[in-house]
Symmetry: C2
Subunit: 252 residues, 2 copies
């Protein structure tokens, strides 16, 4: 006694297309094939199908299910491995949700700082990547591992600090003050201090060419539009560069 493809599909709560697919990939062959090519399934096949669908609902991939059915892998082992993957996914989702929430909040607050999120430790890192020969080949690796090793809280603090700095730079640039003025020079000092917190850069290393690095960075800020996007346009970047140049000349 066996059933046609539609019949088992209904019995198992799936579609005939799925059955054909499982046949194609060798996951579940029909127990019998008519001379006309029709697929027929018997009781054991139906039970197998139910097991397949059960595992599928748990999120296992078809190849993994095939392994279990072929007894190449223990069911418990397969599910345990799958569970780990699920846990990682859940974790990723949780963090992504937090990121989206924060981005929304930031956007609602003041659109000016939206791009801020991408201008974190990575940016300076990646930035150096372009000129790594100039200040050391391993700067990237050092900087990258430093950033990765930070806790979310620490990263947030870092970003907050950068955001304040950025806001102050924009305000200064828009106010029309001179880059050489005392208040702007204090901003430059804060900027350099902030830079000193990034390992792998000359500003962090004792005896590094801080002066050359800072003035060089200033030029890059102007040349790289990403920077301008975060500091009030190209004019903002120019302003920052000028201020940093003055500061470097006078203090470094």
């Amino acid at each position: 006694m066996d059933w046609s493809i539609q019949e088992i599909a209904k019995m198992a709560g799936t579609t005939s297309r799925t059955l054909r697919h499982y046949d194609d990939i060798g996951l579940l062959k029909p127990s019998r094939t008519g001379h006309n090519g029709y697929r027929y399934y018997d009781g054991p096949a139906l039970v197998q199908l139910q097991r397949i669908l059960l595992l599928r609902e748990l999120g296992l991939g078809l190849p993994a299910i095939a392994e279990v059915l072929n007894r190449e892998t223990d069911t418990v082992k397969a599910l345990s491995g799958h569970l780990e993957w699920l846990a990682r996914e859940q974790d990723r989702l949780t963090r992504q949700i937090a990121s989206v929430r924060q981005t929304i909040d930031t956007l609602k607050g003041d659109g000016k700082y939206m791009a801020q999120d991408m201008f974190d430790g990575f940016d300076h890192t990646q930035y150096k990547d372009e000129v790594e020969e100039r200040w050391g080949k391993d700067a990237y690796a050092t900087s990258d591992s430093w950033w990765r090793s930070m806790s979310p809280d620490e990263k947030q603090q870092w970003k907050d600090r950068l955001q304040k700095l950025s806001a102050d730079w924009i305000a200064a640039a828009e106010s029309g003050v001179s880059p050489g003025s005392a208040e702007v020079q204090d901003l430059a000092r804060r900027h350099v201090e902030w830079l000193r917190g990034i390992p792998g850069t000359p500003t962090a290393a004792p005896g590094g060419d801080v002066k050359g690095y800072v003035t060089g960075l200033g030029e890059m800020y102007v040349a790289d539009p990403r920077f301008g996007a975060n500091y009030g346009g190209e004019a903002g970047a120019t302003f920052v560069r000028d201020a940093l140049r003055v500061y470097a000349e006078e203090n470094l």
Copy 2:
């Protein structure tokens, strides 16, 4: 001043393939194209790219990102909608993880009851689907909404009850007792009582053809291998059928 495809790719932290893809789907066109077909990107393009990558990291799909960039959709609105989807995904994951955990526990406990998980309220439901004309067309809908309206705790209780019943049936069938014996008849009584808990069936409706339904179910238990898989093979199903028939004749 512009850059080659590899240059911006590095600057933005992505690959040239991605850039070509974005060009293909119209998400980000190069600012200039050389006579040789080379793609060149300028500052604004780089900034756009950064925005794209930022949104992508938040999990937005490329079409959604395109809408945001074309100002067809507000960024906040797009992210809010995305957030809902993320929340649903997280919820789904959480429940799936719980299912996997429980399945693992069940498997570790006693392999015999693994298939149990799929033999829940749905099965009787779906079961009736095949013969719905026999006992009412709306049986499925009633039964389905009933099951869906149950809390996870209630569902678990239901499953536990079924599991005990199943274990007792298997034990009885294997012990070699007669289906008409007092102890087995008590099992049959419990089985019918359990069936009465499922709305939309004649066992639950006042004045329903309980006798016909129960004996009919017994026949189906034998005919349907899924049942045998949960009740100790075809012999188990036959045993259950016989016991139910006796019970129905004598008590219903």
